[in-house]
């Protein structure tokens, strides 16, 4: 990828409120046309990062560039109205006193409206039938669409979406997510999506940056993040792995679930994702099924070994496991990290 295609570049950005550090060393690269996910727990500083990029707040230090021009540094601060950044707020922040049409055309010039940009956006977001409604009269999903339409209308360089689907119910969230991604791809709009939802980040984004304690700890493609997490935190934030303590000698580590190969020696954590453990019913099996939670597309089985330690496995719903069944296990893949302690 060529450098001139970099839309947003943030380097060593820090921000604290009343002495409490929210972002300690925030770095981010956003390429033209890509969708970048910032994944983090609540309080990890992800919304603050968006607000700094949008210009609603000023970083304490660090550099933010847009198309190679500084928009925020110790000396320069471009106000939000001059940044050409579109923002979709978590609570949508629609103007309650304006109808859908006026909300969307708020950021448009007279010229743009005359050239039919409003109608174009209304059609693009399937909002033609709602253009004279007020925000309060719309469902959550429709409000979300208006928020997106309003942000997209002035053709911003980049769209920032703050937890865009959290306030919707699961079904609606998935449907709208597909719609939004389709729209962003079709219009080749660059976007940054902030979310705490791993599924959302992994399924939607080209690049995922995992944020912890105000720092980006890994930034890579969804596959890379999922398969090769750099730390236990990353592994946890994109999956729900079993973590086993072990001590590696000569590249081999012994754990409660067997012996594995390791790149390091010394104390380490072995992470095994539930779907990498295959269970087979066996009346002589050495593990005991404790509980099975059925999800439809798959099921999660918790089982214990003779020492009473409990682990989780995920499998297709074609075998029925019941509490008390004896099983054997087969592990297909593990990841190891140096132990934290």
């Amino acid at each position: 990828m060529a450098f001139e295609n970099l839309i947003i570049r943030a380097r060593s950005v820090t921000k604290s409120y009343n002495g409490e550090t929210v972002l300690s060393d925030f770095n981010l690269d956003v390429w033209n046309g890509s969708i970048v996910g910032v994944l983090g727990m609540s309080g990890s500083g992800k919304t603050t990062a968006l607000r700094l990029i949008a210009g609603f707040e000023k970083p304490d230090s660090g550099l933010i560039e847009m198309r190679n021009e500084i928009i925020s540094s110790d000396e320069v601060f471009v106000p939000p109205e001059d940044r050409n950044v579109g923002m979709v707020f978590q609570d949508y922040a629609l103007f309650p006193h304006l109808d859908v049409e006026k909300n969307i055309s708020f950021g448009l010039s007279k010229n743009e409206i005359n050239e039919g940009r409003l109608e174009e956006v209304l059609a693009m977001c399937n909002l033609e039938n709602y253009k004279n409604k007020f925000p309060q009269e719309l469902s959550g999903g429709q409000q979300q669409r208006v928020a997106l339409a309003r942000a997209i209308a002035p053709n911003p360089e980049v769209i920032l979406l703050d937890e865009p689907f959290t306030s919707l119910d699961a079904h609606m969230a998935r449907e709208l997510r597909d719609e939004v991604v389709y729209l962003l791809r079709k219009t080749e709009t660059t976007a940054i999506i902030v979310t705490h939802d791993q599924e959302e980040a992994l399924s939607v984004c080209d690049v995922v940056s995992v944020l912890e304690n105000g720092k980006v700890i890994q930034s890579a493609t969804p596959q890379e993040i999922y398969l090769n997490p750099v730390s236990q935190t990353v592994a946890h934030s994109v999956g729900d792995p079993n973590i086993l303590k072990g001590y590696s000698v000569n590249g081999r580590v012994e754990t409660s679930l067997g012996t594995f190969v390791s790149a390091y020696d010394g104390a380490l954590d072995v992470s095994i994702r539930p779907e990498c453990i295959e269970l087979t019913l066996d009346s002589d099996g050495s593990y005991l099924v404790k509980e099975c939670t059925f999800y439809g597309h798959d099921q999660v089985i918790s089982f214990q070994n003779s020492k009473g330690e409990v682990f989780r496995a995920r499998s297709l719903p074609n075998t029925i496991f019941e509490s008390g069944d004896k099983v054997n296990i087969n592990i297909s893949e593990v990841t190891t990290f140096p132990s934290k302690a």
């Binding site: 949008a54 707040e57 109205e81 923002m87 922040a93 309650p96 942000a151 306030s167």
Partner: protein, 518 residues
């Protein structure tokens, strides 16, 4: 749920008594309508109406300007000591308009503070302020805090991300205020303007001390000439009518709760000001505080010190102090007793009847005291002469106008009593009475007490009704202040005013801020 019959009957009876002054006044008006044309042909009516409306518009506009500007500066900008500035600019609220007028009238009087100060610089001729300008200034200075209280609390509750959204769509700061901040404050703006408006058209003390001819002043003048004269009936009815319209419109703009906010609530990032602008803002605050707080207090202190050096003692004002406290105590106790069943009725039994009760009590709140007082005079003279010019009549009259404060206080806390609590209690086998004692009352008594305290303070400061209805020989601080000020006995007036403020300022401040921001 249906309200128990005894409760409905008691409350209906109470409210009918309370609405009597309006009905009686309208009945009197209907009876003399044949003379109406004479009235409408005289210029007097139009002058008075015009004067009243002019003052209404002028005060509402300037109060709105001051109140909104202060709110925006404090809530959305980084200024030094915002809490202190907020308190200091709200404080004028505790000064009744007649005390405010007293300070400005007396400061310009021949031996007043301003004359004293200016003469040291060789300026002997300064013209005082009175009439329209005087009333306008004084009423603005003591009513803008209502706008500030209501609008700043509404502004604090406004989701500031909407403002961020506007800016990211390319809108400059000033346009942002006119396009997305003020429109969202429409309801609180209308609500507080009309609150100020009601205050202005009902005000008697300030306009009469400023000698500005409004409806209230006319009613009192005609009353002193002929208590039963047609002009008294006509102007009182007109005043009640205007007040009813205003409170009707105001109710339409009653404040609704702000929309729910998702996610982590974010503290508003206050905008920074340049040094020059910060300086200008501080000068602005200094001027507001100077005129609305420092000057009134200094003028009163000046007269007080002067009076004491001339041998004035507290003995001269003691009867008024005792009168105020007695009237306030009796009124507030009765207000609490009467308000409790009404509050329970309105909040616990959500019926059409309850809504009606609520509307009626709210209507009572906007009634101009002078008109209620006149009506009560008529009623006691014509129908129940036994209580004419008695303490009983005075208390009833107070209760009529102040009951809504007690009801409002109880109601605010009654909102916490969800219907499901009551139902849960019934479900656990408690009777209606037990439920009231165990659930409802513990949750509402604090609100009721606060409401009652507000009734106490309002009664203590009430002027026009007291002036019209007090028994011979009975006086209050308010009456002493007004009558002494009217006769230019400023040292006497200042003495009472000082005591009144000393007793009422702090609780008024606490209760009003609590009430209006709730």
């Amino acid at each position: 749920m249906k309200a128990p019959k005894p409760l409905v009957i008691t409350n209906t009876f109470i409210l009918l008594i309370f609405l009597m002054p309006i009905f009686y006044m309208f009945w009197r008006f209907a009876n003399f309508s044949k003379n109406l044309t004479n009235f409408l042909q005289s210029w007097d009516v139009f002058t008075l109406l015009l004067n009243t409306l002019l003052l209404f518009i002028a005060v509402v506009l300037t109060s709105l300007f001051l109140g909104l500007l202060i709110s925006i500066l404090i809530v959305r900008y980084e200024i030094p000591a915002p809490k202190l500035l907020f308190t200091l600019t709200i404080l004028p609220l505790v000064i009744p308009s007649y005390i405010g007028a007293l300070t400005y009238v007396s400061a310009f009087s021949p031996r007043g503070l301003f004359v004293d100060i200016f003469s040291r610089f060789g300026i002997y001729e300064i013209s005082g302020i009175d009439g329209f300008i005087g009333s306008w200034i004084v009423l603005t200075l003591f009513t803008y805090p209502y706008v500030q209280l209501i609008c700043s609390s509404a502004l604090r509750n406004l989701d500031s991300t909407v403002e961020d959204a506007a800016r990211s769509l390319g809108v400059k700061k000033i346009k942002m205020y006119s396009s997305v901040v003020l429109p969202r404050l429409k309801k609180p703006i209308i609500y507080s303007s009309l609150l100020v408006g009601l205050y202005v058209i009902s005000d008697f003390g300030a306009v009469s001390l400023m000698k500005y001819g409004t409806l209230t002043k006319a009613i009192y003048s005609y009353y002193t000439i002929n208590i039963n004269g047609d002009p008294v009936v006509f102007y009182s009815t007109l005043l009640i009518f205007i007040a009813l319209i205003i409170s009707f419109v105001q109710r339409g703009s009653a404040l609704s709760r702000s929309a729910k906010v998702f996610g982590t609530p974010r503290e508003v990032v206050k905008a920074k000001l340049s040094y020059r602008n910060k300086f200008l803002v501080l000068v602005f605050f200094a001027l507001v505080i100077l005129f609305s707080l420092v000057i009134p207090i200094s003028v009163l202190s000046y007269w007080l010190i002067r009076g004491m050096s001339q041998g004035n003692t507290v003995n001269n004002v003691l009867p008024g102090v005792i009168g105020s406290l007695t009237a306030a105590t009796v009124t507030s106790i009765f207000a609490m007793i009467i308000a409790t069943p009404i509050v329970v009725m309105i909040s616990q039994y959500q019926s059409k009847f309850g809504e009606l009760f609520e509307k009626v009590t709210l209507t009572l709140y906007g009634l101009p005291h002078i008109a209620v007082g006149i009506s009560m005079l008529f009623i006691t003279i014509k129908i129940v002469p036994a209580i004419y010019q008695t303490f009983t009549t005075l208390i009833i009259s107070y209760l009529i106008v102040f009951l809504p404060q007690a009801v409002g206080g109880g109601q605010a806390s009654m909102e916490q009593v969800k219907l499901s609590y009551i139902e849960a209690s019934y479900g656990l086998g408690f009777s209606k009475m037990e439920t009231f004692i165990k659930i409802t009352f513990p949750l509402i008594y604090k609100g009721l007490l606060a409401g009652t305290a507000l009734v106490f303070l309002s009664t203590m400061k009430e002027l026009p009704q007291t002036l019209l209805l007090r028994p011979t020989g009975f006086s209050t601080m308010a009456v002493d202040i007004w009558s002494n000020a009217s006769e230019a006995l400023f040292t006497q007036a200042a003495f009472s005013a000082f005591i009144l403020l000393a007793i009422s300022a702090v609780p008024t401040y606490i209760l009003s801020t609590r009430n209006l921001t709730n």
